[in-house]
Symmetry: C2
């Protein structure tokens, strides 16, 4: 196969078509481990950076040259669209919900705004990035938080080890939980489709806390909303990547969503994932971000091992199993993308 | 089979022998969700309660009558033996290590005391409980934290979502990490064997953070020390129960430890676990503790579903998949043990 542009390579893998070699990017690649990002954050608070079109574009692009990534995801946060629903969110530094959702009255009072009106800056950022990236032939990714994960924060009131208030609601007030998930799914579909309209060439849904459920509870409380989102996205314009953190035990259920790409964390061998998913979806992942602290040669060996394990899969996007952590060595991230570029073309 | 005493029932299941019905207890069954425990904690701080023989015995026994549990685990904490090694630990309320371990010099300076001298109160509590329990024919359980989990806290300096400092040490300073795990494994073996000598009839090792590793890293950084502990415990006197939190992806590796019982969290179907473990070990678990918030009939249905799924296993101890959480309804815990007692004898 002839060398492909980064955009063609990523989109072909999403659709299960052959490529010259795997594409590579890193979740949370624009973050505190990068010097340019830290410089910008000295001038602007996190919440302001998300709304600052010029600077958000700047930090989104930094990883292209700094670590050699081959896709750009716009700088934002899964909570960006939440205030538009009428929910007050603060960051200290994790999200804190002023009035946690505990009643049907609160769910019914949620607004369902057109995201192009409630968060116009998101689409300015995307259009700006798309213009910058066109000449480089690098793909632009959109993203959103998944209904289960957003609901976990909105009910719990913030981050939590067990999200026990939210998970108990599933058992004690299932109708209330369903009503909240339905509302959030509608907002997520509108938000992602607006991102696609503004230039996102693929979109990733982040379900950080769905992996805290048993397989049976996941089938009841997560899968139906993933399916709904998969069905309502403009998939002809942008493939759908589904990330579930800590989801080794629900890989089959992830595949049942109908997503084009399953993004996996490091708790599963890619060989096992390829076997369990079969031709239903391509895979993305899954190096433990802590492994970027190793020597470059050890990182390259890990990349070659992943490539060998994932060979039977329909397609593979090289990535981490979770977002880059603050203390990640830049050299480690560079070694990762370089090792992917050095992979031999598939037979 | 004739009705068995609670002690006979639990020990027979651990050895894979037939029983009249499954035994039942709940991890962290003596905790803040119980009124007697809360009363005692108004008088005594957590760290003092662990050393207060009379009150520790009192709170250890409360779940027998309060929730109908059928085994007693002595009230303590995985950090109880750590100050004896020369490491200062505080609770605020999670563990905080005054001087996190970051050098070989610190590891070499660790003491290896005889636990009967460094934490004599632990063995007084166990002897006292065993005397109380003899007439009731209820088994007494000992426990300890696993080397990987203790090392995670000792290196990180306290609790953490990612334990990135500790996990990076595995990649950057593997010899240092190994030296620390070796020392902790020696201490754990001495501590558990002293508990057995003082009357513990089975012992459980808690590995709370080993499940944060990929399968390959788990085989390198966890399994060898589990095997060592399994080999050095006085197994003729007390079977060995291994708990790994979030371990669905390493169930085969848990079985390779040689433990008598694998204690699983709720992220795995018991049918799948039974298939993957086969005749190598009995199983313990695994209801999501948040599910104890459901109505009693829903809890009973969940118990019956677990019993049906686990039927092909070598043996089964009904339990939660994690410790009881603070907000657990007492009625939910009662409904759980009652539903296990109502199970039909196995065919």
């Amino acid at each position: 196969l002839q060398p492909l542009s980064a955009t063609e390579r990523l989109l072909r893998v999403c659709r299960g078509e052959p490529v010259d070699r795997p594409p590579v990017w890193l979740m949370r690649q624009a973050g505190r481990y990068l010097p340019g990002y830290r410089r910008v954050r000295k001038q602007v608070a996190f919440l302001d950076l998300v709304r600052d079109v010029e600077r958000a574009i700047e930090v989104s692009l930094e990883p292209l040259d700094a670590i050699g990534t081959e896709a750009v995801i716009f700088f934002s946060d899964i909570f960006t669209p939440i205030p538009g629903l009428g929910i007050e969110v603060d960051f200290k530094p994790g999200p804190v919900i002023a009035e946690p959702i505990r009643s049907l009255r609160q769910v019914e009072a949620l607004r369902a705004p057109d995201p192009r009106e409630s968060v116009p800056f998101v689409f300015e950022i995307l259009r700006g990035l798309r213009a910058e990236l066109a000449s480089r032939e690098v793909p632009l990714l959109g993203f959103a938080g998944a209904p289960f994960t957003l609901a976990a924060y909105l009910v719990e009131g913030g981050g939590s080890r067990h999200f026990a208030t939210w998970k108990r609601m599933l058992h004690r007030e299932p109708e209330l939980a369903r009503a909240l998930l339905d509302r959030l799914a509608d907002c997520t579909v509108a938000y992602l489709n607006s991102q696609i309209e503004a230039g996102a060439q693929a979109v990733q849904l982040f379900d950080t806390w769905a992996g805290t459920l048993s397989p049976a509870d996941y089938r009841e409380w997560v899968l139906p909303w993933h399916r709904e989102i998969a069905a309502k996205l403009d998939r002809a314009a942008a493939p759908f990547i589904l990330y579930v953190n800590d989801g080794a035990h629900v890989v089959e259920e992830m595949a049942a969503s109908g997503a084009d790409v399953l993004s996996l964390d490091w708790r599963i061998d890619l060989a096992a994932a390829a076997r369990r998913v079969g031709p239903r979806a391509s895979l993305q992942g899954n190096l433990d971000p802590c492994a970027l602290a190793a020597e470059p040669e050890a990182i390259a060996a890990a990349v070659r091992r992943m490539a060998a394990e994932v060979a039977p899969a329909r397609g593979w996007i090289a990535n981490l199993g979770h977002g880059c952590l603050p203390g990640t060595p830049v050299e480690g991230a560079q070694a990762f993308t370089e090792a992917v570029r050095a992979l031999a073309p598939p037979k």
